[in-house]
Symmetry: C2
Subunit: 401 residues, 2 copies
């Protein structure tokens, strides 16, 4: 096990109707002027935004609002948010939404005390020294951003779209309000994208070269098993509160890094995917459903027994002791079949992506200047090969049951 220095002080307030307590909680943090950040339309349509605002008024908390955050969040709203913070003496940022909204709120939070361009932090040119505190009312269980150190923002520089992540302890939210009922109204496709995203967060940690990490192995496997079984319940009944609840908190645990403590982590697939969702403006989870199995096929030979463990412990696949790589491969097939079952794309053609764009994806990844991943360290040719696997896969040629 590797050494670690870990602290996650986020307060989780979980249960039915908890969003109505948001201003009471803000009041506990002595908030005077809150900036409420939200997405395109659903927070407004469902009345959630109105309930949050009413709650603020009840507690005499001033609020400004910043709506319209889209999936794969861009830099422009971050600048707007930073200006509001400076002009209106904002002392707290409340994100009402999913990962894009939270990541935007995080970017605003570190930008508010910085004179330069907030994107300097994402480009690793500067380290933030101070940030506004953040709170979350979560509506989409997926990114785990409500309990994580990280944020991903997209910016176009010199005609190239850069989708870049940044991680810092200052980005950890003070609290996250988690009401599973708020996820009832999510379209099935978005629920599924979230499920893939949280599974990917676990798998990025699971595929490691660190030896003897039995405890976090078991935790990873348990969270994956629970996500999968609760997804089955959700297919039967989208209004199954407990299934929604288990999945919602699994999304938080999948990425607050308890599952990754003391382990080398990979994260190549996330970076490969970011280029896909940046170029084609698809959901991150959808891109991960395409890229993760492709990455797995490419790296399988590096450690067949780890893939065998994954197949056996997560999907209950019997081990072929004479030929464990059959078990390992079967694990990847069953993972793809699970993604297929919940309506996810599996190949480039499913999202209208083109094989010819692979050089562009590699340029966006800026792969000539670094390597990707740790489980297997990937250079340009490796990344190209993985994109190629993803582009060539045709699910009607494979067994899905």
């Amino acid at each position: 096990m590797l050494d670690f220095d870990f602290q996650r002080p986020t307060r989780y307030i979980f249960g039915r109707g908890k969003e109505t307590e948001v201003a009471k909680v803000l009041h506990e943090y002595n908030v005077s002027n809150v900036l409420i950040v939200y997405g395109k339309s659903s927070a407004k349509k469902t009345g959630l935004l109105g309930r949050v605002q009413t709650s603020c008024r009840d507690f005499l908390i001033n609020y400004e609002t910043l709506g319209g955050v889209q999936a794969n969040p861009r830099d422009d709203l971050v600048y707007t948010g930073i200006n509001i913070c400076k002009e209106k003496k904002i002392d707290f940022i409340l994100a009402v939404g999913g990962g894009s909204v939270i990541d935007t709120a995080k970017a605003i939070a570190i930008g508010a005390f910085y004179e330069g361009d907030f994107f300097d932090f994402y480009l690793k040119k500067e380290i933030p020294k101070k940030a506004l505190p953040i709170g979350v009312v979560l509506t989409i269980p997926a990114s785990g951003s409500e309990g994580s150190v990280s944020s991903v923002i997209q910016k176009e520089i010199d005609g190239v779209v850069i989708k870049q992540g940044f991680a810092h302890d200052l980005l950890i939210p003070k609290f996250a309000i988690l009401n599973p009922e708020l996820t009832y109204s999510l379209p099935a496709y978005q629920t599924a994208c979230g499920i893939v995203d949280m599974m990917a967060h676990v798998m990025e940690r699971y595929f490691t070269n660190t030896k003897n990490v039995s405890l976090t192995d078991r935790l990873c496997e348990g969270v994956l098993q629970s996500i999968i079984e609760n997804t089955e319940y959700l297919i039967r009944d989208p209004y199954d509160y407990d299934a929604r609840a288990n999945i919602m908190f699994a999304g938080t645990l999948a990425h607050n890094n308890i599952l990754g403590l003391g382990r080398e982590q990979d994260w190549a697939t996330h970076h490969l995917e970011h280029q896909l969702s940046a170029l084609y403006d698809i959901a991150h989870g959808a891109g991960l459903a395409i890229m993760f199995p492709a990455w797995m096929e490419y790296t399988l030979e590096h450690n067949v027994m780890r893939f065998c463990q994954f197949a056996h412990r997560v999907f209950g696949i019997d081990i072929d002791f004479e030929n464990p790589s059959i078990t390992a491969t079967e694990g990847i097939r069953v993972l793809r079949a699970f993604f297929y079952k919940i309506g996810m794309p599996l190949s480039f053609s499913d999202i209208g992506a083109k094989k010819e764009d692979i050089p562009k994806l590699l340029d966006m990844l800026n792969i000539d200047n670094h390597t990707e991943g740790n489980f297997v360290v990937l250079k340009r040719q490796d990344c190209e090969n993985i994109y190629r696997i993803a582009s060539q896969y045709e699910h009607n040629k494979h067994r899905m049951i």
Copy 2:
């Protein structure tokens, strides 16, 4: 899943040699005068205490020391510690040891700002409003107190020994330094007692009437599996760093309550055991090895399928679908066999306890004035029956392999 409001801000600093950084960490918390609380002898003998003191001197942090905390910690040292805090303007308490030392430090921390008897908090007569901050250098993985809200202290009142727990957010340590190497020197018996204690912390949460808590079920099962498999490694090689590391952090996770979120928990066995260790001055873990299987046998019929799940998922026992109670019973037998294998007592006679003392144990438990547990709500007769099972068990009459 039940609602919850949860926050665990403890910072975990994990790895080889991390105890040498303790004063650097205290310095980050602006500590001027620290009270170092430690146990009977091992912290002194191993040089750990000296290293901590040297580290404090290097950072110009004044320290007082309070040694001699014993297993099943008593109130007397708490009073001494409170007086030192008041006289020496202590602004931080550092516990160097295991659960008894940490629990004593916690009692001192809330007592330091209270004019009355600190035990008022334990007797639920008062609620603390303020506490000194606490840090931990952990030497015995067992109690999970390094990341928990709780403390257990023993006091004799009117000739009756009261062993009483208290839980409050003010008792959560600011940081815990976890170096698995420090546990190499533990006697095998003490290592084993710690293992039983952490398993019990998981099982108190696992046996629940809350439905559809798949996520935390899986987490509980994973932590138990990891403890068990790493114990096997430790039997082969007590200096297996990774086995020590997995077990050490399992002990923390077993009790910082992530595994218990959204679930009704039981805790009857802990309370039944507290009387045993109070009366016979045995290790808490040893008492739990006797009491937990006895409690399980008594409550088995309440939910056979949950015990079946435990047997199957934790110990890999094949399910007897025609008669699941055979599987369920087998789970308890294998748990006892595991405790036996690591040198734990299994019955009253193993620790010199007497069947005739059962009425005394029941009086100490003060059972006529309340009920115990939630999975099955226990009254006096139930508790008596469970003590009786524990007193009658004779392991030489049972199969241990």
